[in-house]
């Protein structure tokens, strides 16, 4: 299978380099992530997979010693261009973090937080519909519909992580970035969130970083293998795990390092 290079790619990077101070974390990353599939990013710790993920909504820029060169396009728009509004980028590209991080507010306020930033004047009725829609989508509605005003931080970790996915949906993103979304969850929670990721794949382009190769294998259509800040291999997950093209990929998948 040849990587699609038409404009239907969700994310396209060209010669992306990134430095933390003087340390170069990404080297000439050129990568096309397809629309409408789940792509996993694997590689040993420190290979730059999380750093790359965090370029796609520019959340890396929280650290003021980060410097980036090259280009990142999301659905054909260059998000590193100077005239780009970072808010619009983040509306389009939602992010789920390693540790569930609901805000210390009610479930309702959490789900509607992003939406209230982008549409502060939405009617109560519109908000209620978005709230229910988002919570149904992440299979949380039945569990929490009677306690929407209770604190989100009191939910179980699995529920919190689902909530963290739900709160991205009301602003209708196109791409969802997930940085090891299951690493804080137990096996049941992991299974539930993975199933949810498959559900969401019908509507969103999903990019998921994982250190868990089994998870990459069962929960993604395509897989990117990174090493030392470089993309080594990118292809359909089923092929990469059976017939890796690169020696280093093969060695990592076999567990010879990492």
């Amino acid at each position: 299978m040849v990587d699609a290079t038409d404009s239907s790619d969700a994310i396209r990077t060209r010669d992306l380099n990134l430095w933390y101070g003087t340390f170069q974390a990404l080297h000439d990353v050129t990568l096309d992530i397809q629309t409408g599939v789940v792509t996993s990013m694997i590689g040993p710790s420190g290979c730059g997979k999380s750093t790359l993920l965090r370029c796609f909504n520019r959340i890396n820029e929280r650290l003021d010693y980060v410097r980036t060169t090259g280009s990142v396009e999301i659905l054909g728009h260059d998000i590193l261009a100077p005239e780009v509004e970072i808010l619009q980028v983040r509306k389009r590209v939602g992010m789920v973090f390693q540790r569930p991080n609901p805000l210390p507010f009610s479930i309702r306020d959490n789900v509607l937080f992003a939406h209230s930033l982008h549409a502060p004047d939405a009617s109560k009725q519109a908000q209620d519909e978005l709230l229910e829609g988002a919570l149904r989508k992440v299979l949380l509605w039945d569990a929490v519909k009677d306690r929407l005003d209770s604190l989100a931080t009191r939910l179980s970790l699995e529920e919190q992580q689902k909530l963290c996915i739900a709160r991205l949906l009301p602003v209708k993103p196109s791409v969802l970035l997930m940085d090891e979304p299951c690493s804080a969850l137990d096996p049941d929670g992991t299974r539930a969130v993975e199933e949810l990721i498959w559900e969401l794949a019908e509507e969103y382009s999903i990019l998921i970083v994982t250190h868990n190769m089994a998870q990459a294998r069962r929960a993604s259509d395509r897989c990117v293998f990174m090493l030392m800040g470089k993309v080594i291999e990118h292809g359909p997950t089923s092929e990469m795990f059976v017939t890796p093209r690169d020696e280093r990929t093969a060695a990592y998948i076999e567990g010879r390092y990492g």
Binding site: N57, I59, R62, D64, I86, L87, Q88, V89, R90, K91, G94, M95, F97, R99, N101, P102, L103, P104, F105, F113, A114, L117, H118, L151, C164, R167, L168, V171
Partner: protein
């Protein structure tokens, strides 16, 4: 035991004694706070409660503005003194709350690296300025400034004392408020930023609500500080008994009254007891404020 020891196992040797001694000293240190607070309360109460039992009028104390302890027919109405303290503290809070919360937000959320460290050190230095120095500034600089700017005859008044006290309370409030902001997990900020919140929205809609309890506690401790401050208020307020109707009225604070008069009263006299009763009143109010602040801070952990 491999090496032969002169002492039987478990014998009470020197190390054992040292251990016990250290334990005792640390225990004493630990409970000294409690003992001191109780001791002070008992002492102040013993001296001041005579004021009540001697048939002195509690109603007069609470409702009359006439504090005439040295008159032929002495009256001990503390209303004007309470109004003095309340007005000065209230104005001080108007000055210090925006100032200190603003400073805390700047230091905690915006300033970076050396600016931040420098600001923190400077604010701690500000907290270390003795109150008599603040009073001196009020008595000289602020006095003249108020006379010039507002064209009033006297510059020692509620406004002067309020501003001085506000500036005095601000550093400690800033430090506590900044701690509260720092205690907000960075994950909250990151989550909000990733959803497209601007820096201001992150602070206003996430950080401040999350740090709310600590911020309230900071303000309450500032109120307690203002309430109990004596020297600066004595020097800057004009020290005249008055229920203020404008910020340019001179007032007298409860604390300043005790400080100014206690040295001139006969021990055990009616006046002496009345001053101690003022002390009890102050003690109870500041205790209540601090307790509230403490409970509010604990609210963070439980909530």
């Amino acid at each position: 035991m491999a090496a032969p020891s002169p002492a039987r196992p478990g014998a009470r040797d020197l190390a054992w004694a040292g251990d016990k001694l250290a334990q005792g000293v640390i225990f004493l240190g630990g409970i000294s706070g409690i003992l001191l607070v109780i001791g002070i309360f008992v002492f102040v109460s013993r001296e001041g409660l005579g004021f009540v039992s001697n048939g002195l009028d509690l109603r007069e104390f609470l409702t009359s503005p006439a504090w005439r302890p040295t008159s032929n027919h002495p009256t001990f109405g503390a209303l004007a003194l309470m109004a003095g303290t309340a007005s000065v503290t209230g104005l001080a809070m108007l000055v210090s709350v925006p100032l200190s919360l603003g400073a805390a937000i700047f230091i905690g959320e915006f300033a970076k690296g050396r600016t931040r460290e420098l600001l923190k050190v400077l604010i701690e230095m500000l907290a270390a300025i003795p109150s008599v120095v603040w009073g001196f500034i009020g008595l000289t600089m602020m006095n003249e400034l108020i006379i010039d700017v507002f064209n009033v005859p006297v510059g020692l008044n509620v406004l002067n004392a309020g501003i001085i006290l506000g500036l005095m309370a601000a550093p400690i409030m800033t430090t506590i408020a900044e701690d509260a902001l720092k205690a907000v997990p960075d994950g909250y900020r990151q989550a909000a930023e990733a959803m497209g919140a601007t820096r201001w929205q992150v602070i206003w809609r996430v950080v401040i609500p999350a740090a709310k309890n600590g911020l309230v506690a900071a303000v309450l401790l500032g109120v307690g500080r203002g309430f109990g401050e004596t020297m600066a208020v004595l020097m800057a307020s004009g020290h005249s008994i008055n229920i203020p109707t404008s910020p340019f009225d001179s007032v007298r604070a409860l604390t300043a009254t005790i400080a100014a008069e206690l040295g001139e009263t006969a021990v055990g006299s009616e006046h002496y007891q009345a001053l101690f009763f003022l002390g009890i009143f102050l003690f109870v109010v500041t205790f209540a404020i601090n307790l509230t602040a403490d409970l509010v801070v604990r609210g963070i952990k439980n909530g």
